[in-house]
């Protein structure tokens, strides 16, 4: 386990501790993380159910660069598969993985609860209800070639979170425990409404369930625009608040006495994290486990400092989901496996391994 850095500690001298803090630059770790992300992306781009040689894949991708044409001799179907299907899929999986891990880390920080994930206060159930309502509706749910499902999922997710927040409000404050309870209650209402819709539209159950279980089979470049406008600003805001989130790990009174406007920070960060998670869920369905486990894995490896934890969760969340999706489309080829099954099945053992290796408490 020493592999993972700063585990060994005898009795560090204060000078050493200071030096360590000063020298604890994010960049080396981030470089490692980005390397892992890039490696995962390259692997995922090279492998797929369609049998295309890796060098052909590389040539196809490089040919998108201006002035490079290496792929002219390759079949058009290969070029379509790599550029229009596989690559957007890899990018989307990475983006969604990064978003979910970042949102999960933010939720865990704001709620000071290790069990928090991006779906805690209604994103998943709200999105599920929104998507189901559109999928089972007898009306045509594409408008101008654009499906309304992501839009409805996005709206449902935000409505659920906003409702939970409004209901949990006590005077000028929103106690986190109340917010969690309100979120759980809203989620169960939305889930039962969703189940009701599904049962009354049995012929659409399969489609609905597949959407809910989540996946990237239908990724395309255009869908990135569904996600990026929300994820980028949200990630920017959240990353700015790394230091404040550390302070928030004390109780809220101490944070307040240290100058943090706790209620405003909670609203801002939960809003940003929920917005990002809602956008991710709207294009990928409800992929579990990433938002819960990746931040914990980062915490186990590199410690609890949110200034590092947030960006590292993003890069590793992206890498993790890219690899999970790679398995989802290759293990049972030519059929797909819902990627949520993979994330849970492969993520949990690795997480347990980390948990066993590291003896001291991390949260």
């Amino acid at each position: 386990m020493r592999l993972f850095g700063s585990a060994a500690r005898v009795e560090p001298s204060p000078e050493a501790a200071f030096a360590a803090l000063l020298g604890r630059a994010l960049w080396p770790r981030l470089a490692v993380g980005l390397g892992a992300l890039l490696g995962a992306a390259m692997l995922a781009a090279a492998i797929g159910p369609a049998d295309i040689p890796a060098d052909a894949t590389a040539r196809i991708i490089l040919s998108r660069l201006p002035g490079v044409s290496l792929a002219d001799s390759l079949p058009q179907s290969w070029r379509d598969i790599v550029w229009e299907v596989r690559l957007p899929r890899v990018v989307m999986a990475g983006l969604v993985g990064a978003t979910l891990a970042l949102s999960g880390a933010t939720y865990q920080a704001v709620f000071r609860n290790p069990l928090a994930d991006p779906y805690l206060i209604g994103v998943a159930a709200g999105a599920g209800l929104g998507a189901t309502a559109v999928i089972v509706s007898p009306l045509d749910y594409t408008v101008g070639g654009v499906s309304l499902v992501p839009l409805a999922a996005f709206g449902g997710a935000l409505t659920a979170v906003a409702l939970a927040y409004a209901l949990a409000r006590v005077g000028r404050t929103v106690p986190t425990v109340t917010l969690i309870l309100a979120g759980v209650a809203i989620s169960s209402i939305a889930t039962s409404a969703m189940s009701f819709l599904m049962i009354n539209n049995s012929q659409r159950v399969h489609t609905t369930l597949t959407w809910i279980l989540g996946g990237f089979n239908l990724s395309e470049w255009g869908k990135l625009w569904w996600v990026l406008p929300y994820v980028l600003p949200a990630a920017f805001i959240i990353l700015l608040y790394g230091r404040i989130l550390n302070v928030l790990q004390l109780d809220e009174e101490q944070a307040q006495q240290l100058g943090v406007n706790v209620e405003r920070v909670k609203l801002l960060l939960l809003g940003a994290a929920s917005l990002a998670a809602a956008a991710a869920v709207s294009v990928s369905g409800i992929i579990g486990f990433v938002g819960l486990i990746v931040p914990h894995a980062v915490r186990l490896i590199w410690g609890p400092d949110y200034r590092q934890l947030l960006p590292m969760s993003m890069v590793l969340g992206g890498a993790f989901l890219i690899l999970a999706d790679l398995l989802a489309r290759t293990v049972n080829s030519p059929s797909e496996i819902p990627v949520g099954i993979i994330t849970a099945f492969c993520g949990a053992p690795f997480f347990l391994y980390l948990l066993r290796m590291r003896q001291r408490a991390v949260f």
């Binding site: 797929g48 159910p49 369609a50 049998d51 058009q76 179907s77 379509d80 598969i81 550029w83 229009e84 299907v85 596989r86 957007p88 899929r89 999928i135 045509d140 749910y141 594409t142 070639g145 499906s147 049962i199 049995s202 012929q203 659409r204 399969h206 489609t207 597949t210 959407w211 089979n217 239908l218 395309e220 470049w221 255009g222 489309r329 080829s333 030519p334 059929s335 797909e336």
Partner: protein
């Protein structure tokens, strides 16, 4: 969804054998006969069972002609099953049948108040002239028009009270959630599970079986035979027209926009087998797999059939999918929408679906 289905051909062979060897038959009732689609008389005494065997023979003739290479042929009745039996018009009651999940079902009299919780069974009943005996249907029984005038029940989340409330003397289920059949029987309501045959490879034959079985149960044997014969003729015509085809076009049958498809081992897949099409979903072990998008592009279907046309998909949306532009079916504009009700419902209209698909796949052979 789990279907308890039966391999009709194997079952038929076994039953034909039993038929001609009464001793063996009576001594070995269970493993084979329990799996059977129909026709294992067990009650009602010797005379009735004889009469029934005669009727069964009659019922089997059509199937044997096409499906079973039985050297004896089906047209030669045993001495005991005399012409008088064949001439019988009325089905005697009480009669017993074994439904597709192996339950023995006894009807005391001709059912007059049937609740059909299976869209396929509903279509069959109306097609063989038993529509007047149907008083309630499930909410997906949307054909024929007349069926929608009956009281509606929910087949997927069946409510015991609601079913019992319509006062049926026969309930037809296409699956049996939480032992619903037992509950109904406890209420004294005769119930038969006519399991879905979606996974049955010999799909059209299995539909014929069900038609004959329902004909027998409702005392519309002749109409059922006529319907089967007509359907068989239409299937034969297609097979004849394709006799010289070695290998048909590559097809992708889209069940929904998530790219679920029908593999060869499904009812729909069976229709494509008759049409000798190359199903690009071959090689999966699920009846309805979700295909990877890149697999679809790589396997390059020549014809795409959309069964999800009612849910926002159309040839235009398919053409607009990124990366699909170079697929043969898209390039050659061979994307067609088919009504999922006729193509995936194992009822009388499956031959309509077959004819429509034949026209899509072989426009030069069928107008």
């Amino acid at each position: 969804m789990r279907w308890k289905s039966t391999r009709a051909l194997a079952g038929l062979k076994a039953r034909v054998c039993c038929f001609f060897c009464p001793k063996v038959y009576s001594k070995s009732p269970s493993p084979i006969s329990r799996r059977g689609t129909f026709c294992v008389p067990q009650k009602g005494g010797d005379v009735i069972s004889l009469v029934q065997r005669g009727l069964l023979l009659l019922a089997l003739v059509g199937v044997l002609a096409v499906a079973v290479a039985c050297e004896d042929g089906g047209g030669e009745p045993t001495p005991k099953a005399s012409p008088t039996v064949l001439a019988a018009v009325q089905v005697p009651y009480p009669q017993s049948i074994v439904d597709t999940v192996g339950r023995e079902v006894t009807m005391e009299a001709q059912p007059q108040r049937i609740a059909s919780l299976s869209p396929a069974a509903t279509e069959i009943l109306f097609a063989i002239g038993a529509g007047d005996q149907v008083i309630a249907v499930d909410m997906y029984s949307n054909y024929p028009e007349e069926a929608t005038t009956r009281q509606q029940l929910d087949a997927f989340q069946p409510n015991l009270e609601a079913i019992a409330g319509v006062g049926p003397d026969l309930v037809l289920l296409f699956y049996d959630p939480e032992e619903l059949s037992d509950s109904l029987e406890r209420l004294g309501i005769t119930t038969a599970v006519l399991g879905s045959i979606e996974e049955t490879p010999e799909s059209v034959e299995a539909v014929f079986d069900q038609i004959r079985l329902l004909g027998q149960m409702t005392d519309h044997v002749q109409e059922a035979e006529d319907l089967v014969a007509e359907m068989q003729d239409r299937v034969d015509a297609i097979e004849e027209a394709l006799a010289d085809v070695e290998q048909g076009p590559r097809i992708f049958h889209e069940v929904d926009a998530m790219l679920y498809t029908a593999a060869p081992d499904s009812f729909v897949g069976g229709l494509y087998k008759i049409l000798k099409a190359q199903n690009i979903a071959a090689g999966t072990d699920q009846p309805f797999p979700q295909l990877s998008q890149e697999v679809i592009i790589e396997r390059d279907p020549e014809v795409i059939i959309l069964a999800d046309g009612g849910y926002g998909e159309s040839p235009d949306t398919v053409k607009g999918r990124p990366g699909w532009g170079n697929i043969s079916a898209v390039r050659n504009d061979r994307i067609f929408v088919i009504d999922p009700d006729i193509v995936s419902r194992p009822g009388p209209r499956c031959v309509e679906a077959l004819e429509a698909l034949a026209a899509y796949l072989y426009p030069e052979r069928f107008e």
